[in-house]
């Protein structure tokens, strides 16, 4: 089986779509954060695949930076989760609607 760049693009597209769907539809704030991590992973797959096809290491360096951002984002997001839970006693994103217009 010969794998081309198109297979990588399809994989990362589907992974990104699943993560995006999770962000849009899940009620639980923790699962929304996990879906964001899925989307970042999809982007990293593209970086790595194109890095190899173009024989350029920059893609790998950038995916390391993306992983760094993901770590910071997870820390902030989970701190927000704890803060939300303290205030509302729930993780349902539909109940965090104080600023709803």
């Amino acid at each position: 089986m010969t794998i081309t760049i198109n297979h990588f693009l399809i994989l990362s597209f589907l992974l990104f779509a699943i993560g995006f769907f999770g962000v849009l539809v899940r009620r639980n704030f923790l699962t929304v954060l996990m879906s964001i991590e899925l989307m970042l992973n999809a982007v990293n797959i593209n970086f790595i695949a194109f890095s190899r096809r173009l024989s350029d290491l920059t893609g790998q360096v950038f995916s390391v930076f993306v992983i760094t951002i993901a770590a910071g984002e997870a820390a902030i997001g989970l701190a927000l989760t704890i803060s939300l839970f303290r205030q509302r006693k729930t993780l349902n994103v539909e109940e965090a609607n104080t600023m709803k217009g």
Partner: protein, 189 residues
């Protein structure tokens, strides 16, 4: 296939190709399970499996350093953080409340909006599939040493400023997480 092998740089053929197919299917399966599971602990464990499988794909693509970082940071750091927070905010999962919001059908309708441009690009663009310089991942200045050394050379020579900015970012994120997690907002309003 013949042309690519004649160039000596056929990417992911044979067993490696089937391995990629298996990893890709497992990644998509675990990702769907992450979004589908009602229990956040199950979601977190499926997410862990997904991270490890993505690391396998990275290693298959000769990005060994990024694969190792993926395992260390995601599976070692972020997953522990997630499980820790799940235990900390242990919520009584109400059996009656559905896991999905009511607009899930609209979200599903959004899929073609993204799928059509994607398929258009996939059909029209011709991306290269032959690595011109297969040793680019392991070589520094013509000498073949290893993927980790090559990445670190590039990172500390050409991308030193972004690296330092990333470290400042992590510091800010750490302070922000401490402040957000520590302070009680109950008396504010």
């Amino acid at each position: 296939m013949g042309a690519a092998e004649a160039a000596g740089s056929a990417l992911l053929t044979g067993v490696a190709g089937w391995l990629f197919v298996g990893f890709a299917l497992l990644i998509l399966g675990t990702a769907i399970a992450v979004v589908w599971s009602k229990n956040p602990v199950h979601s977190a464990l499926f997410l862990l499996a997904s991270f490890l499988l993505v690391a396998c794909v990275f290693i298959l693509e000769e990005a060994e350093f990024v694969g190792a970082v993926q395992i260390l940071v995601y599976a070692g750091g972020i997953m522990v953080l997630f499980l820790f927070v799940i235990m900390l905010v242990h919520q009584r999962t109400a059996a009656g409340t559905p896991a999905f919001q009511h607009q899930w059908d609209i979200a599903l309708l959004l899929l073609p909006v993204f799928l059509i441009p994607f398929l258009y690009i996939l059909g029209t663009e011709k991306f290269t599939d032959i690595a011109r310089n297969p040793d680019a991942f392991r070589a520094v200045a013509g000498r073949v040493i290893g993927n980790t050394e090559a990445v670190s050379w590039l990172m500390f020579r050409d991308y030193l400023l972004p690296f330092e900015v990333a470290s400042v970012f992590l510091l800010v994120a750490m302070i922000g997480a401490v402040v957000l997690g520590k302070r009680s907002f109950e008396k504010v309003d």
